[in-house]
Amino acid sequence: MSFKMMPLFFEELGNTLTMTFVSSFLAYIIGIPLGILLVVWARDGIRPMPRAQEALGMIINLIRSLPFLILLIAIQSFTRTLVGTTVGTRAIIVPLTLASAPYIARIVESSLKEVDAGIIEAAKAMGASTWQIIWKVLLPEARPSLLINAAIAVTTILGYSAMAGFVGAGGLGAVAINYGYYRNQNAVMWTAIIFLVVVVQIIQSVGMWLVKKTDRRVR
């Protein structure tokens, strides 16, 4: 392996980060409302609709139980109509988002559930509407937990994006697979892996730093 390969690593690092963050962002756009619905519609939620909640929960579980690679292949035609191709960084964002959204919905649900029922009760007693409780109580009070889980989620999605290297996505995962696995260039593979490890560490640390900085429950 020569240093001439360095630009390649940085270019693929860019692809990895794009895939990870764009997919995470889109997955959150879908997952947050779903997570909110899971909490709000629950039997003991602020707008109980247990039937709808259970149905939603089942759909979420169903998508979550599909192996990522199967999902990726299963929705190829959908991906093609959406972005015009089924290979490359842009294309992988579609299945990555779809696979991550139900997972995000579940972790958002679990964060929101941590909010003390007494605080929600107090807001109700003050005449807060369902929307006001969601915006002014549930989300802000759950912020530290949402952030911790976001760090975990983003690193998990980064792992998925590396896996997607097998099926034509770019990124560091693809480098590790193409050079290391197929051509036996171990040095290249390990360099790509080290890049991935460092990125995961940075995301995790930034997440924790944000939590520490913004959580008002620590003095």
Partner: protein, 341 residues
């Protein structure tokens, strides 16, 4: 009830609540009828699980009753639209045992919270919040977060928050139960001050008799999902009629109310102010049940004269407490034999 004066702010009529759980139905309230009068401090006392929290939560429809009706300022809550109900709740403050402050908001923004809900302009809300923080003595803590406050300070913030929307009523569910006795005292004094200065009606739920004694005008004793008795605090304390009332007021002493081999004492009244309820004071101060065997007292120009024979349980500690108390109150008292009567 002849002792009611004034207009009611909250009226409960035939109120009942049954929870339907997995293990069958739980009856929390049965046929509750009571009226809370504008400007009073009304206490509701009962043992744990009696239904107190459910009762207070029915008053603002946090819990929907399964029978009966709640009238707020004359209007039935069950007939209100969701929007009307929310506006009605804005005119009732509520404080809790666990304070329930928003942990990610500082003190000032916690007090602003109900005004945000009600749509009060921000600048106006802040100004009012500062005024309320001054009232509860925490203006210098406006930038602090709940985690940085003591229990008593948190409850003061909660009180300021409960007052933010200018409520007519403040509902308190075990508001002092998580606080030490001194802090409890100062919180109760604050509530009393708010009641007197602003005429805000206060409903206090508690399992502690001392809280009722300290600030309530009237009290309802609830046991086993029903109101056991209701009336002026002084009257109920002087002679609780219900079993649960005696248990709560007299404590363990009520358990040995068999006077089978009690001892008899003669109390002589000679010129003590007749307005002074000596016997009920003895009961309250000594927590000893007193059985009046015989009384011949007359009110002469506001002074009591005559004598009374009382029976006390045969318990050295109880008797010495009563005798000591009467001695200090300068009421002559001597033991009499059973056959002397």
């Amino acid at each position: 009830m002849t002792e009611l004066h004034g207009e009611s702010i909250i009226r409960l009529c035939g109120l009942g609540k049954e929870f339907k759980g997995a293990q069958g139905a739980v009856r929390a309230l049965t046929d509750i009828n009571l009226e809370i009068i504008k400007g009073e401090i009304f206490g509701i006392i009962g043992l744990s699980g009696a239904g107190k929290s459910t009762l207070v939560r029915c008053m603002n429809f946090l819990e929907t009753p399964t029978e009966g009706e709640v009238y707020y300022d004359g209007r039935p809550l069950s007939e209100m639209s969701p929007g009307e109900l929310r506006r009605t709740r804005q005119s009732m403050g509520m404080i809790f045992q666990q304070f329930n402050l928003l942990e990610q908001r500082n003190v000032l923004r916690n007090v602003c919270f109900p005004m945000e809900i009600a749509g009060t302009p921000k600048a106006e809300a802040r100004e009012r919040a500062r005024g309320l923080l001054k009232l509860v003595g925490l203006l210098e803590k406006e930038a602090a977060y709940p985690v940085q406050l003591s229990g008593g300070q948190k409850q003061r913030v909660a009180i300021a928050r409960a007052m933010a929307t200018n409520p007519k009523v403040i509902l308190c569910d075990e508001a002092t139960s998580a606080l030490d006795p001194n802090t409890t005292k100062s919180i109760l004094e604050l509530l009393k001050e708010i009641n007197q200065r602003m005429g805000i009606t206060i409903v206090i739920i508690t399992h502690e008799m001392s809280v009722i004694e300290a600030i309530c005008d009237r009290v309802a004793i609830i046991g086993d999902s029903r109101i056991a008795e209701i009336g002026q605090v002084s009257r109920i304390f002087a002679g609780p009629k219900s079993k649960i009332g005696r248990q709560l007021i007299l404590g363990d002493a009520a358990k040995q109310v068999e006077f089978g081999d009690g001892r008899l004492f003669r109390i002589t009244f000679d010129g003590l102010a007749s307005s002074e309820p000596v016997i009920s004071n003895v009961i309250l101060a000594c927590k000893v049940p007193v059985n009046i065997m015989y009384a011949a007292t007359r009110d002469i120009k506001g002074k009591a004269a005559g004598q009374m024979i009382i029976e006390l349980p045969d318990n050295e500690a109880d008797i010495s407490r009563v005798l000591h108390y009467l001695d200090r109150a300068k009421v002559p008292c001597e033991e009499v034999g059973k056959n002397e009567l």
